[in-house]
Amino acid sequence: MTSMNRREFLKTTVATTAIVSSVLPGISSAAEGGKITVYVVHGKDIPKMVAAGMAKLGGWEKFVKKGQKVTLKPNVAWISKPEQGADTDPVLVATCVTACKTAGASEVVIPEKSCNDWKQSFASSGVLAAVNKVGGRMYALTEDKHFRKMDLPNAKVLKQADVAIDVLDTGCLINMPVAKSHVLTTLTLGMKNWMGSVKDRQFWHRNQLHQCVADCCTLIKPALTILDATRIMLTKGPRGPGEQECPNQIVFGTDPVAVDAYATTLFKKEPFSIQHIKMAHDMGIGCGDLKQVEIVNIEA
């Protein structure tokens, strides 16, 4: 019987871990446990809050490479005023556009497929005006040429999808959802926001919406998620008008599932009570278990 000394044991362990983690990158990131951090910035001055959050994450330069395109995906799906909270705050979007440009982005594009008439949604939300002012390019995904057919090999239901080209081919993809209630998925947070980047939404509704939301996240992997929880819609979402609350928070994180998991607590809900968070966690897209997520609160 050959015994294994400590050094050998360590070697094998490290090697196995390396192999496993290279084969299953998803699981490894979920299993990294304590390394997943979600930064929650409290405050009222949005530009200040963004600056504070990004300083903790290592600055904009860590995400935005010089001369590369940056794609932002705010939620501008509905005809809604900024204070009504159905769309991402225009100041937040504009702040991020400015910051990306300062960090050296060649251009900042914001593609969005609205549920309501896009002109009315873009206008009433104030996002288009704010973005135009700071030199971003926001446009509606209305034509077939905006999309590319993609295969999703790791998906369970959504095996194929037409996804916005600007979401696929970009130097840095940043998800900027707004936290609000939703009539069929209970809450709509970061992951469900990608529904505004695909052509055929109706397929999702016909075929297990929650699974499709999770499936889509196997393909679309944002470098960063900035969740707008300055005001949240508690009822009658996603369209509103509904009851409101003002947590005055912006949530930053690189793990899309962890950000969503934290956001559920704002609505006094368990992360795994939202089916697509549970599914995404189980599929290894990210970590939805808040015990393994470090939540850092920052005042700004």
Binding site: W78, D117, F122, A123, Q202, F203, H205, R206
Partner: protein, 430 residues
Amino acid sequence: MRLVIRILVLVVAAVFATQIIPVMVERRLESESLANGGTGIVASTAVTGRTCALLLPALSPFSAVSSAVAKQSVGWVFLLCIPVFVMSVIKGRWFCFHLCPTGFLAEMAGKLRPGSKSKFVSMPRAGGIIVLFALGGAVLGYPIFLWLDPLCIFNGFFSVWHVPLTLVTLLPVIGLIFIIALSVWRPNAWCYRFCPLGFSQELLGKAWRHVLHVHTQKRQAILSIEAGHKPDTGLGRRFFLALVAGGISSFAARKVFGKQQPIRPPGAITEDKFTAICIRCGNCVRACPKKIIVPDIGQSGVAGFLTPVIKMDPNFCAEWCNECTKVCPTGAITRISLTEKNNIAIGTAFVTKSNCLAWEKDQACMVCDEYCPFHAIKTIKRGEVLCPEVDPAICRGCGFCQAGCPAERKAIIVHGKPQRKLAHVKLQGT
């Protein structure tokens, strides 16, 4: 000179009917706003001159007076018919000779065959019957034949040219083509034998002269009775009989309904008057930015041929728009504000459970609830699954749910209902 004026009027009328100017103004405002870092959106409350489209059809005293009598109300649009009304009292067919664009086209077409210039004389004076039938019907609230007004036929011809161009939207074109074809076959026949507007001008002129000469006529009548002759009341009797006949036939016509109440544009007056007072000018079809208003073929019966109906899927009646209510020359669609429009139910949505993903396949769907601008969908909990049901006290029938329904066969469909006012609902974004 007369020729220049007539060509000018023709062009201006065509431009108004095609609503080119408002579209151009909107485009300019849009690009200006975009260039200035704005959103490029023209608010639906902004005056873009779309209302100009009603100018031409509203000039006609024939359709204006008949529809005002039938509705028993007048708006400011009615005032537009007064110039022509006054001119025809003073000068008879003055408008016909100098301004009427349809008359001009008919005249030009008639010149193709100068040989048969006077063949129309043997044709019956149908125009008179049309006018009297319309007036008789108007008293009973159903003025038939209003759609024979030449100005609205002209307007209809030009207003249909917009995308998407389908066979159905092209149908209103036949009116003007028919007039031109008739004028080639029998020059002058339309103007002197059929045109109700022409005859009503003649009638007004005659009536005025009749009033002027009433004294001399009375004296003559007395003289003739004294001389042993019966007084001449021929015209009066015929006039009266035609009015009565118009009343009776309108009474019969308004009983002819389609099988189903069609979905009318918001602000439409009651169905039993709508099919008569609507002159099929095509303005509302043209004005709709969502292109959901189409000329009807058969849904609302024979009486409603080519009247505007709403076809929902794949678009819907947007809650930020009331363009169609701004362009009706006869008031078949009343002028209402955006708020008023949003509080009118043009129909009601119904859930067909056998098609519904939630009711039939236990899927979590509720897209109808997600999209409904008025929150008219009630959520029924059936075990774990949430299922939709429509609250008819809130549903406006805008059709957004129908447009969004992901089921293979639409599970929620808007059905026509007599329009009714509902309690105000605060909309998101207002």
